[in-house]
Amino acid sequence: MKKSIQHLVVFLVLAFLYMPILILTFYSFTSSTMIGSVRGFSLDNYVTLFTEPALLSMMGGTVVLALGVGLLSTILGSLGAIGSFYSKRGTRLFVELANDIPIANADVVTGFSVCILTIVIFGIDKSTFVPLVVAQTALCAPFVYLSVMPRLKSMDPALFEAALDLGATPVKAMIKVVIPHIFPGILSGFMTAITLSLDDYFIATYTKPATFDTISTYVVNATRGSQTQIKTALWALSAIIFAIVVIAVVIMNLNKVDSEEERI
């Protein structure tokens, strides 16, 4: 391919991916109620976003849920990876197979099946948040497992034995030797779990308490309604999330460049 065609392809696909979100970000700073009609600069959308109680509670709820599910998934997934790494082949095979199920499965099916089990069969009340947290953890923990496992495989198995020979207890060896080595995997698993929880719509719909909303379920309900004030406040939310993601990606890449330079 000619260089100019390559640049054109890259430009067109980027335009497709970014144009909507950039245009929406621009209009979130105006008093327009639909894009295309230019009105003056205004921060009203941002004021609504941070003063309207329904919006505040749905944003707060989403973040707290994501952090909780992220933490739970990270603990379960990481311990699961360490344990299965040191287990017999059969056990490990079982864990890997079961671990792959939620990853390959459709979110609709994951959400619906956990809903049937926890709510219909076990009779757990939705408003306890137990079905929601369990179902989202079932989706997220396998991704933590997958991101921790390669770090374990890349670790010199003699390190743990060496720590024991030097007098560390197994628990201490685990905390001082194994955990630090696999920590980057744990961290990236935690981040993945959080993003998955933040992005989830289907699992939340089937298992969430009736009065609780995440960003996804709130947005979908808002598009059915006709409240323009809420609609444009959500533009402001998109702009903020976009900014956070961009900043996070830039910081991550700067760190990567730093650590690569250190290695040289």
């Binding site: 391919m1 260089k3 390559q6 392809v9 890259v10 696909v13 497709f16 991916l17 144009m19 909507p20 979100i21 245009i23 929406l24 639909m34 894009i35 379960l76 699961g80 360490i82 344990g83 299965s84 040191y86 287990s87 079982f94 864990v95 079961a98 671990n99 199920i101 390959a104 499965n105 459709a106 609709v108 099916v109 994951t110 619906f112 099946s113 049937i116 219909v120 369990v134 179902a135 953890t137 079932a138 923990a141 207890t169 197994p170 685990m174 993003t195 933040l198 992005d199 289907f202 719909t205 089937y206 960003i215 996804s216 979908v220 598009t223 059915r224 959500l234 998109s238 990606v249 890449n253």
Partner: protein, 259 residues
């Protein structure tokens, strides 16, 4: 004494119990519910009903059509991008991949909302083109999930293979068909798996662009709203079977290629 109490293998026990209880058991329950009637008797009535009813059968076909179209468009858009990023003018700029996968981290309902505003501006009334809008929104949503695995498989590909092909007199088209394409099949398969299934089940996209036709996911949603656990489970079981077959086929295909 501590040696006797602490065993590294035991660390997996909580996760194994969790997987058994909340991953495997729910699926068994869904399969059981799918093949029983409301009184709890084993029955194939739901299963036969699904394939005998033109409405539900039509839903299956409609979701397959949407999934095939979305997957093909994603593949055709993602392949050149992944190739350019892995082997072309941007090959040395690895951070560039991030720019393409970054949208993945923004909540998909907000991204679809943004695209909807643009489409409304262009089309006037979204409800006039439900099918096309569904396709556009799904491609927009899933494209990064296709670019990533394609990039991963193309970037691992040894450049000397391509150079050897060129030295032996192959032209660009021959290099593509005989070297690039066969070697990137694992990437294509994993990209297709990541797009095809969501395209059959992500009914929120259809809801958001006012497409009232059902796909497989919408059936689960509507049975859920009417507390029809048996039929909802049956749809889940059918989707599970499709996922299972898909995974086995994909595994076999990648293994053959690697062998």
């Amino acid at each position: 004494m501590k040696n006797a109490i602490f065993n590294r293998k035991q660390l997996a026990v909580p996760y194994m119990l969790f997987l058994l209880l909340f991953v495997i058991l729910p699926l068994l329950v869904v399969v059981y519910y799918g093949f029983t009637d409301a009184e709890g008797h084993i029955s194939l009535a739901n299963f036969i009903g699904f394939f005998a009813n033109p409405r539900t059968l039509g839903t299956l076909i409609y979701s397959l059509v949407i999934a095939v179209i979305v997957t093909i468009i994603c593949l055709c858009m993602a392949y050149p991008v992944a190739l350019i990023l892995a082997k072309g003018a941007y090959a040395r700029k690895h951070a560039f991949l991030m720019v393409f996968v970054l949208p993945m981290w923004i909540n998909f309902t907000l991204r679809i909302t943004a695209l909807k505003e643009i489409l409304t501006l262009i089309e006037g009334n979204l409800a006039l083109y439900p099918f096309i809008n569904t396709i556009i929104c799904m491609v927009y949503d899933f494209l990064p999930f296709m670019i990533m695995p394609l990039f991963n498989s193309l970037t691992k590909l040894d450049n000397s293979m391509l150079e050897a092909g060129a030295d032996l007199g192959a032209n660009r088209a021959q290099i593509f068909i005989h070297i690039l394409l066969p070697l990137s099949i694992p990437g294509i398969i994993s990209g297709v798996t990541m797009v095809f299934l969501p395209a059959m089940t992500n009914y929120v996209v259809l809801d958001m662009v006012y497409n009232s036709t059902y796909i497989m996911g919408s059936l689960i949603g509507s049975y859920f709203s009417s507390y029809d656990w048996n039929n909802g489970s049956l749809i889940s079981a059918i989707l599970l079977m499709m996922i299972g077959m898909f995974t086995i086929l994909a595994d076999r295909f990648t293994m053959e290629k690697e062998a």
